[in-house]
């Protein structure tokens, strides 16, 4: 993990949110963002943003934090890791 990697992930998540603000209330925007991240981000990236939300929530906007919570929920039920 590097500072730059984390700051890029934060930027990416906030950018997804900014481009979906028109989707409605914060909860809806968070849902759209979480679904997007769920569908397009690699496992390691998801893990990094989840860890960040837990350790440094102040670095994320409220909607981003909400999105990460939803993202975490989406991962429930999926195998935590993958063993080919």
């Amino acid at each position: 993990m590097s500072e730059q990697q984390l700051s890029n992930l934060i930027k990416m998540l906030e950018q997804i949110i900014a481009n979906n603000l028109h989707q409605g209330e914060a909860a809806e925007v968070a849902e759209v963002a979480a679904t997007h991240v769920h569908n397009f981000w690699a496992r390691s990236m998801k893990q990094l943003i989840i860890n960040l939300a837990n350790t440094h929530p102040e670095q994320l906007s409220t909607v981003a934090l909400q999105a990460v919570v939803l993202l975490q929920a989406k991962s429930v039920g999926q195998p935590a890791s993958f063993n080919p």
Binding site: Q4, A18, H22, A42, F82
Partner: protein, 972 residues
């Protein structure tokens, strides 16, 4: 369509299928009315408007001709094609005489024979009699016609006034112009006008003094000529002739294959002598190009035999070591061992693979299969990430399929043509010529681009509407256009209510109708006058058929995906979907951008855009591949770089892609590459990325392998091997061998078997096979039970997602804004003669047209900074600094500067940032805030680049000359 052979023309009433190798004399008629005529007693039915010459050719009767060709309008100057027609006086020219019902034509009588001999006598009396030593000997229509008319003597002698001493123009690197052989048939002039649309040639003077001149009597090289080769192709003599033919003689066999440069996907006959490629001749039977070409595909093939080709596998322990030549087995074993060791130490997800849109479908399919099945992760990506990934996202979201909707020919039915962020005459030249032809027929052009592109100055076309917007404001403009359509009642309500999702439409409609999206409100943002936007919106929405073509000026933005959705909204709102003349058409940059996306190169999608987290999809692939596939998407290219710098991503297999030159923020990419423990590059040259590699696997050019490319119209074309791969293995075989070395078995005997596997696993490809490609020539996917011969126009009755989904496209300014420190906006693009990173075209004479990248700057910005044409300019952005020469240009508005990135030492991407599209991470190449100033020396990056390049060339040299110890083993 161009006027070449048209496989879909109404000439199919003819029982014999048209032969692309036959010249039918004049173009096909489009008429649906049929007329019957008799030619030499043979009855034939042809469409009304067909010439007698063509009708005869269709009946298998070849009337002598010189000035006619089936890609040009009949001209009637040589009179060699004279015939007798019952009930008519004289000897009309058959090329300019249309057939009429019941007409009876005689093509051979004593009088006609005499007339034709007289004509030939006149031609030959002013023509050198050096047939035996002429380069066209054996491939000369004049010679053929002399034989056909039975010319035996030239009564006028050869001593009169003639042109035999005129000088040859050798200025063009690829063809020569020897006016002493010219018969002034004007085929070249007409080809340049009608086929290419450049109008560089004219006939100057009259009668005996008439001659062909380029531009204002310039040499070809100094004229407006763009070296497309259409005139060379059209010339019936050796006047215009390829230099390779002059040097090597007439080729003796040919193979039809597909150009490996741009997304037009032109078909060519590779004409050979033994295993030597003599010339590439555009193939009339190719549905994408119908016999036309551009300077790249036609002439720039010399790189295939360039001395810099990597001919043997090589390895080295670190990038500071010299390269060592090894056997394939050793190179593959070394690679496999390193990759496995990395995974053992850093985890399964610590390695990945990148494939290129230059590779075939079969190759890209195998690379993603290797990553998913042998590496055991989904860290696979393609260079399409950095160009058209937003197209995939935007079109799939709105219309359900990640592809353009039309054929190229569809443009010939468009009444209004909108070109957004694309420059077809440079980047998709053959399609650019077709588009210009439609503009000459009267279609309205709308260009949305910060730069005044050449299409806007199409000779003999009407005035185009240019929306010269500020870089980064596409979405503002597309919203303003939609606002006008919605608020002025220009929507196609019938289409919307029957074909589109009502709820999504209503949401979009109320958003777009808001005053803040009006042209007047957006004018301050985009810089485009509201009245021009309103004019453009009406010109788009009020006609029967309106088509949108777009390029990287749409996708390579922080709102690239939003803009693609905005374009789809426009087309759906006006009902311009599902028929010829309309549509949404992404102009794919490289030859196989469409294919590499189709083949599952993206980390989240298996072939056919099937998501990896879909259990049903995954299990089908798992069963076929005998491997478990991760359900989580993998890393995209920029994410790989970040992970490499963070130390968690350590190994990369790169096939045919030069990320060190083509990706943005070069210094960041270089840092990532240096951080990797194992970089395996499979390429034809030591490209910029290979300088950071530990394994170099020789790649093969498109001439050395079998496979398929899919062009921008979803057309799958065959690539056929014309010479042996330089290092013994085609690229798909190398990937297969690497997989086997890693312990995941792959066994294919031919790429056709890979295509069979693709067809079995990809719903849009189930009907595709090499056999069917042989039968049909090419196939536009989807090709399956529903569309057994493919589908030229998409979404005719419905969308793959059922109803079209309008998307709300809120404009959001990019973070990359001009400021006091960086007051100018830099945007990047391509030019005609060079291709992307230039590793191919820079190794051909195409460099004579573009020896270096320059910075185009508006004279007013230049004056402000004391800049003159040709000055060295330092260009600084928030991430880097480089130096280029200045070129004053009024193509852009003040405040905008422009450059290309075809030369690695230019460092254009040293200044571009790693800002990217919100949905896909496609980099924002098109907007970088910069400052420029006159400087006197190269930038620090450029000096380092030079040093590093010199060192890496030195480390390669012994291996290239086989000086090092053969097959030595570096320690790993």
């Amino acid at each position: 369509m161009l006027q070449y052979y048209d496989p879909n023309s109404s000439d199919t009433t003819n029982p014999q299928p048209l032969n692309p190798n036959t010249d039918y004399g004049t173009p096909a008629s489009e008429s649906k009315t049929l007329v019957s005529v008799a030619v030499d007693g043979r009855n034939i039915t042809v469409p009304e408007g067909t010439s007698v010459l063509r009708a005869a050719a269709l009946a298998g009767i070849n009337i002598p001709k010189l000035c006619a060709s089936d890609n040009l309008e009949a001209f009637g100057s040589c009179r060699l094609c004279a015939v007798e027609i019952e009930g008519r006086r004289g000897y009309p020219a058959s090329c300019t005489t249309p057939v009429a019902e019941g007409m009876s034509v005689t093509t051979q009588t004593g009088k006609l024979a005499k007339l034709r001999r007289n004509i030939m006598e006149l031609y030959i009396s002013d023509h050198p009699l050096d047939c035996l030593t002429c380069p066209a000997n054996g491939d000369c229509e004049l010679q053929d016609m002399a034989g056909a008319v039975g010319l035996r003597e030239v009564r006028y002698g050869f001593d009169g006034e003639n042109h035999l001493d005129t000088q040859t123009d050798n200025s063009n690197p690829y063809f020569s112009f020897d006016p002493s052989k010219c018969i002034v048939c004007s085929r070249c002039v007409r080809a340049c006008a009608e086929v290419q649309g450049t109008f560089a040639l004219t006939i100057e003077g009259r009668g005996f003094d008439s001659k062909v001149v380029a531009s204002q009597n310039d040499s070809f090289m100094n004229s407006e000529c763009v070296s497309c080769g259409a005139c060379v192709q059209a010339c019936p003599t050796s006047t215009l002739m390829e230099k390779t033919v002059i040097d090597a003689g007439i080729p003796e066999h040919s193979v039809v294959t597909t150009c490996a440069y741009c997304g037009v996907g032109c078909s060519f006959k590779a004409e050979m002598k033994g295993d030597q490629l003599i010339r590439m001749v555009p193939y009339k039977g190719g549905a994408a190009n119908q016999g036309h070409s551009c300077v790249k595909g036609r002439f720039a093939f010399g790189y295939a035999t360039h001395k810099d080709r990597i001919k043997e596998p090589m390895i080295r322990a670190s990038i500071d070591d010299p390269w060592q030549v090894v056997s394939w087995d050793e190179a593959l074993a070394f690679s496999a061992k390193r990759l496995k060791a990395i995974q053992a130490q850093y985890g399964r997800e610590s390695i990945g693979g990148i494939t290129s849109s230059r590779c075939t479908n079969e190759e890209t399919y195998l690379v993603q299969k290797l990553v998913r099945a042998a590496f055991g992760n989904n860290n696979t990506d393609t260079c399409a990430r950095v160009c058209h990934s937003p197209t995939g996202y935007g079109l799939k979201t709105t219309m359900g399929e990640s592809a353009g909707t039309q054929t190229f020919d569809s443009v010939m039915k468009a009444d209004t043509i909108v070109v957004i962020g694309a420059n077809p005459t440079d980047a998709h030249p053959v399609f650019g010529s077709q588009l210009r032809r439609r503009l000459r027929q009267g279609a309205q052009l709308i260009v949305i681009d910060p730069r005044r592109i050449d299409l806007l100055s199409t000779p003999h076309a009407g005035k185009g509407i240019h929306l010269a917007l500020r870089p980064g404001t596409n979405v503002a403009v597309v919203n303003a256009l939609a606002h006008v359509i919605v608020t002025e009642g220009l929507e196609d309500q019938a289409f919307i209510s029957s074909r589109c999702d009502t709820e999504a439409y209503n949401r979009w409609r109320s958003f777009i109708a808001e005053q803040r999206n009006s042209p007047e409100a957006m004018e301050a943002v985009s810089g485009v006058p509201a009245s021009t936007v309103r004019e453009a919106a009406r010109a788009y929405a009020e006609v029967e058929n309106a088509a949108i073509y777009y390029g990287l000026g749409v996708t390579e933005h922080s709102q690239g995906s939003t803009m693609v959705m905005g374009i789809a909204n426009l087309a759906m709102a006006t009902g311009n979907i599902g028929r010829e003349g309309g549509g949404v058409n992404p102009l794919r940059g490289q030859n196989n951008v469409q294919g590499s996306c189709d083949m599952g190169s993206f980390p989240h999608e298996l072939p056919g855009y099937q998501h990896v987290n879909d259990d049903v999809v995954r299990s089908r692939f798992e069963a076929a591949w005998g491997a478990t596939i991760d359900h989580e998407p993998g890393l995209r290219i920029p994410n790989m770089f970040d992970a490499a710098i963070a130390g968690t991503f350590k190994g990369l297999y790169i096939q045919g892609e030069d990320i060190a030159q083509s990706d943005p923020n070069t210094q960041h990419v270089e840092a990532a590459l240096r951080a990797l423990d194992c970089v395996i590059v499979q390429d034809i040259f030591l490209n910029e990325t290979a300088k950071f590699a530990h394994v170099l696997l020789p790649g093969s050019t498109f001439l050395e392998k079998n496979g398929t490319f899919t062009n921008a119209e979803r057309r799958i074309n065959r690539v056929r091997k014309v010479m042996a791969p330089i290092a013994g293995m085609e690229d798909w075989q190398v990937t297969m061998a690497l997989s086997n070395a890693l312990g995941y078995p792959m066994h294919y005997n031919h790429p056709s078997e890979i295509m069979d596997e693709i067809a079995a696993l990809t719903p849009t490809f189930t009907g595709v096979s090499y056999d069917k490609l042989e039968q049909l020539g090419s196939i536009q996917w989807p090709c399956n039970d529903k569309h057994p011969e493919g589908m030229p126009t998409m979404h005719v009755n419905d969308f793959p997602i059922g109803k079209g989904r309008f998307a709300v496209t809120e404009y959001l300014a990019t973070e990359e804004r001009s400021s006091r420190r960086f007051p100018l906006l830099l945007t990047t693009g391509r030019i005609l003669s060079q291709y992307n990173v230039g590793s191919q075209t820079r190794r051909t004479d195409n460099s004579k047209w573009h020896e270096q990248d320059v910075l185009e700057i508006h004279p007013s910005d230049a004056e402000l900074r004391g800049i003159h044409d040709g000055d060295w300019l330092g260009i600084s952005s928030r991430v880097g600094h480089t130096v280029l020469r200045a070129q004053l240009s009024e193509r852009m508005l003040p405040g905008v500067v422009y450059t290309t990135f075809h030369h690695p030492g230019s460092g254009a991407n040293v200044v571009t940032t790693d800002n990217s599209d919100w949905a896909t991470n496609c980099p924002e190449y098109k907007v970088t805030a910069v400052q420029v100033e006159v400087v006197s020396q190269p930038s620090e990056w450029q000096r380092n680049f030079k040093r590093f390049d010199k060192r890496q060339q030195k480390l390669l040299k012994p291996a290239m000359h086989n000086e090092g110890s053969q097959h030595a083993k570096p320690t790993d």
